[in-house]
Amino acid sequence: MSDTELTQLSRRDLPLAGDASARFLPWLIAFMVFLAALALVGADALRQTAARWNGGLSGQITVQLPPLVREDAPTAASRAEQAAALLRDLPAVRSVETLERAEAAALLEPWLGAAANDAALPLPTLITVRHSGDPAPLAAEMRQRLQNEFPDAEVDDHQAWIGGLLNLTRGLEILALFLLLLVGAAAVVTVVFVTRTGLAVHRPVIELLHLMGARDVQIAGRFQTHALWLGLKGGLLGLAVAALCYGALQWAVSPTTLALLPAFEIGPVLLVLLALLPLLAAGIAWLTARVTVLRTLGRMP
């Protein structure tokens, strides 16, 4: 009988399913996959937010003209046009656009609600300058241009705060990926523990099988198949709970609150990664059980 014809041990030969430690493994794996899914979604949300901030504000400088006392709309528009004219002919400036009052009010609506549309509310005039140059010297030049006519004007090239936010989101992204690694390591340790417990519980039978001529891979095969199924079961459960939580969050949070949060959607890449999580958990369980059993059997004569 050649070795390739050797069969795997059956569930009947080594009944691992009844082990107390094995009963907890799917729940532990489910918890880990749940955490991993949250970490993945969190990391992607941060990545999307950072990309949106970066993409939305890079190449833009915002000029803010504080409102005058009892300033009416035509006066505000006239002052805005005057300031825009001063900026338009600067080198590297591609376009200058004044934000309508209604648009500025819409930006405040998530915080102020309907009060943001109150005509009596003094709102600054916002001018968006799109450029193709280095933002810092251009902003300095714009301040100089506006200094005489609009001494209160604020020129913001967004670099100070967006740089800090981008660093923060990147840091959080790395943290989320580190959490993923930790979850993976915890899964490995858990499977090692469960497998070793199984080996200890079934040691007399394993020794007997070994003495009867069972190859190490035959015995390991039984453990790794068992771990694979437990890992897959736990992984699917964890992913299902994560999906439920995500759905519940979408359903529970009001549209006004959602407007305060950066927009986020699960793209196809993230979807594939999430779908792979249970398979990854099963794969980790399979490989860990195999290595653990083979190393333990390696100590037998």
Binding site: M1, E5, D13, P15, M212, G213, A214, D216, G298
Partner: protein, 239 residues
């Protein structure tokens, strides 16, 4: 078939259980291993069925140096060895049938041919009516017969038995010895460890006498009767 060259065995840092043991068993031979408790019989059997590695020396089985074999190679060799353990070592969650079928299943034998072999063998040892029974529901003698059937089912080239008739009555004991004789006639090499000197005498095969971890009576030096082999006793070695 079996060759031990200057084999020493100790467990961990403990004392030597077997010391400088050398022996050669011809293919198809039948040897009885006798000796008082603690002489090292079980340890010698462990080395024979590859349940233990020697601390020193060389063991060859079926013409192959065991120390040079890969793990898979040793597993292949073990499948040619049938072992009857003193404490039976039946698997409690498997039925009598599945216990006996296990060596064949490990070797990848088909269920159809396996079924016939197992049922025939269990019928032969008088357990045809207990195929689906759990081992723990059987008497000690019945369990021992299951253990023997399991050791024989793979038609081993080497059969190692540790007190195989210890828990069975005389009738079954004689039947088992008859089966061992038959296997021997068919070319199976047999090493049988026992305290039962009357049985050893009845069998009339060469005797390996183990004392203090050393062979006191080598194959080929066997004597008439059991006098020199059993000082002070003609029945059983003192336990």
């Amino acid at each position: 078939m079996v060759r031990f060259e200057d084999v020493t065995l100790r467990y961990g840092q403990g004392p030597e259980i077997l010391t400088g043991l050398s022996l050669h068993l011809e293919p198809g031979s039948f040897h009885c291993l006798v000796g008082p408790s603690g002489a090292g019989k079980s340890s010698l059997l462990k080395l024979l069925y590859l349940g233990q590695k020697p601390s020193a020396g060389r063991i060859s089985l079926f013409g192959r140096d065991v120390s040079r074999l890969s793990r898979d190679g040793r597993a292949r060799l073990r499948r040619q060895i049938g072992v009857v353990f003193q404490e039976f070592r039946l698997i409690s969650h498997l039925s009598v049938f599945d216990n006996v079928a296990l060596p064949l299943r490990l070797a990848g034998e088909r269920e159809s041919s396996l079924r016939t072999k197992v049922e025939e063998l269990l019928s032969w040892v008088g357990l045809a009516d207990h195929l689906r029974a759990a081992p723990e529901t059987l008497s000690g003698g019945q369990q021992q017969r299951v253990a023997i059937a399991r050791a024989l089912v793979g038609r081993p080239n080497l059969l190692v038995a540790d007190e195989p008739t210890g828990s069975v009555d005389d009738r079954i004991g004689q039947r088992l010895m008859h089966l061992f004789q038959e296997l021997h006639r068919n070319g199976t090499t047999i090493v049988l460890a026992t305290h039962n000197l009357a049985m050893v005498e009845r069998l009339g095969h060469p005797v390996l006498r183990l004392e203090d971890g050393q062979i006191a009576g080598q194959p080929g030096e066997e004597r008439e009767g059991l006098g020199p082999l059993s000082p002070g006793s003609r029945g059983h070695w003192p336990a």
